[in-house]
């Protein structure tokens, strides 16, 4: 082909590319129909307007705190793994929220809150699935809807990142990126619609319907059970189990990272739970902050003494897991229970994570390097059930067994079974498809070398760099 013709062909190709891109941009920038994209109509210069602005601020700051939990998960996981997989784990932890945010913007939010009618642009949907608000266009281009999106997207990202730790040190990065898209766009969002988007779980005819205040089930159990499915299909790390089936300890490389990561998560949880009121005018937020704090503290204290009485030593890495277990356990009930009940919930969460870690390693014989399944799946279920037991009727009309109501626990049990079956089932399908298409596990050679250099071309702490820039000869 003559050079000129080739150039022309290239030009045509470029023109087509640009016009497609411009078309997409135009489509997304279509003027709002009834939404309020600049807030001028939503804000009023009176007390009502002030209340709205305070609630906006509260919710957005909560969202930023929850976002920071990503840093906690990244630190906690990296510290709990071996040094040769640090870059890989940080990359997964970073990219799941980046890709997940785009997937949630495009698809997930619309599936989850379409039909909830909570804010403009979320009108269409039924009890099973929503279908409006995609890409935040049309009516959803509204200050309130988008404030709500900002709060929801960080929850979706949290659900996604829980899985990274369980499948660490052996899952291919590309498989993980595809997983991140599907979990935030579909698995998390459809279940989220059932419980938070006005779906069938929230309107069950028992008690007031299933209640999951900030997402023991919707966020943590979803992540935990998808992780369980992934871990089963992946198989254990080389060297985790001996020939007779007994598990080996594979210590992480940085206890400081584990502790700091847990601090970040604990801090972020003060956005996760209290800001889930979406309103600072709802003064229950102080109670929620305290139930959150006490449950985390109780979980940590229980595990601290449990390890001490078991081995004579205090195990800080496990104690950190205990704090997180307590936090996961209180998340569903944070608004509905009294402080004393939060302590009980936290202690039981601590027991549950000790039991869960033992059960996973010795009975199920699965390899979960950071304990994500015991922490998030088992305690997520416990958190849902705890609402049905400990809710004291002072908030939202939710009454549990302790005030003599038996209806709520039935709704909570249905919710718990649903979340486990849904997340585990869809997780098996997702990781199963990935396994038989692009593959999910790195080669044994890469696994032994560590994933950092084969998958990312660099180590986390590149020292002894003797030669200068690559000269093409070596």
């Amino acid at each position: 082909m003559p050079v000129k013709a080739k150039e022309e062909k290239m030009n045509i190709k470029k023109i087509i590319q640009w016009s497609v891109m411009a078309g997409i941009i135009l489509m997304l920038a279509l003027p709002a129909l009834a939404g309020d994209p600049n807030g001028a109509e939503t804000y009023t210069n009176d007390i009502a307007g002030m209340k709205l602005a305070i609630n906006f601020t509260w919710t957005l700051i909560g969202a930023f705190l929850v976002f920071f939990m990503q840093a906690g998960f990244a630190y906690l996981g990296a510290g709990a793994l071996r040094v040769k997989n640090t870059v890989n784990y940080f990359t997964k932890s970073y990219m799941d929220f980046s890709i997940g945010a785009l997937a949630y913007w495009a698809v997930g939010f619309g599936l989850m809150f379409g039909g909830s009618k909570l804010y403009p642009g979320l009108e269409d949907g039924n009890a099973w699935i929503g279908w409006s608000g995609f890409f935040l266009t049309g009516d959803a281009y509204d200050v309130q809807t988008i404030m709500f999106w900002m709060f929801q997207v960080v929850f979706a990202a949290t659900a996604a990142t829980i899985v990274a730790g369980a499948v660490a040190e052996r899952l291919k990065i590309q498989a993980y990126l595809i997983y991140s898209i599907f979990v935030t766009a579909v698995i998390y969002s459809i279940y989220g619609h059932w419980i938070w988007g006005g779906g069938w779980l929230s309107t069950l005819p028992y008690g007031v319907g299933a209640r999951d205040f900030a997402g023991s089930g919707a966020v943590h159990a979803i992540g935990g059970f998808v992780a369980l499915a992934g871990v089963i299909l992946l198989g254990p790390r080389i060297g985790k189990f001996n020939k007779d089936g007994t598990p080996n300890a594979i210590p992480g490389h940085d206890v400081g990272m584990i502790v700091m990561g847990t601090f970040f998560l604990f801090f972020g949880w003060f956005g996760f739970n209290p800001a889930s009121t979406l309103a600072a005018t709802d003064l229950r937020i102080s109670v929620i902050a305290v139930t959150t704090f006490l449950a985390g503290a109780a979980g940590a204290t229980f595990v601290c003494y449990a390890t001490y009485f078991k081995t004579g030593k205090v195990d800080i890495a496990l104690t950190c897991n205990g704090a997180l277990a307590g936090l996961v356990g209180i998340t569903a009930g944070a608004a509905y229970v009294a402080p004393w009940a939060a302590v009980v919930i936290g202690i039981i969460s601590g027991m549950l994570i000790m039991f869960g870690l033992w059960f996973n390693e010795w009975k199920l014989k699965i390899d979960d390097p950071v304990g994500a399944i015991a922490c998030h799946a088992y305690n997520g279920v416990w958190g849902l059930l705890a609402v049905g037991i400990f809710a004291d009727g002072t908030y939202g009309g939710v009454k549990g067994l302790i005030v003599g109501e038996t209806g709520q626990i039935i709704a909570q049990a249905i919710d718990a079974v649903t979340v486990a079956v849904w997340a585990f089932g869809t997780g098996l399908i997702l990781f199963g498809i990935l396994k038989y298409t692009i593959g999910i596990r790195v080669s044994a050679e890469e696994e032994l070398t560590g994933l950092d250099i084969p998958e990312h071309g660099t180590s986390a702490y590149p020292e002894f760099v003797i030669a200068g820039p690559f000269d093409g000869k070596r």
Binding site: I453, G457, G468, F470, R474
Partner: protein, 112 residues
């Protein structure tokens, strides 16, 4: 007595250790070392630019055995550290004049 000194791949430490252990050679010293041989360097990437690390991490395994055991030990290490690629490492054998066990003061073959 002979000191067997093997420079091997870090990923092969477990295999070598287990193979030696199986044959009854329990005592050994392991050091993380850096070095280079025919493998030269490996390419890594830092923010999109390639660079070469040409002093690579290796592990040095040292053990001292009686003369007649040296060949067996060498064979075990050679087989268990083998991948067939550049960078598998080398084994050096050197005579040892004297060995003293600190705890008891024993010397020679008794101290091994």
């Amino acid at each position: 007595m002979i000191k067997v000194e093997a420079i091997i791949r870090p990923a092969k430490v477990e295999d070598v250790k287990n193979a030696l252990d199986k044959a009854g050679y329990v005592s050994l010293t392991i050091t993380e070392v850096k070095g280079r041989g025919q493998q030269k360097g490996i390419k890594q990437v830092w923010r999109g630019r390639e660079y070469v690390v040409d002093i690579l991490p290796k592990v040095k395994v040292e053990l001292v055995v009686n003369d007649e055991k040296a060949d067996e030990v060498t064979g075990i290490i050679q087989q268990s550290a083998y991948t067939g690629n550049f960078g598998d490492g080398k084994i050096f054998l050197t005579p040892v004049q004297k060995v003293v066990r600190i705890r008891t003061g024993e010397s020679g073959a008794d101290a091994l």
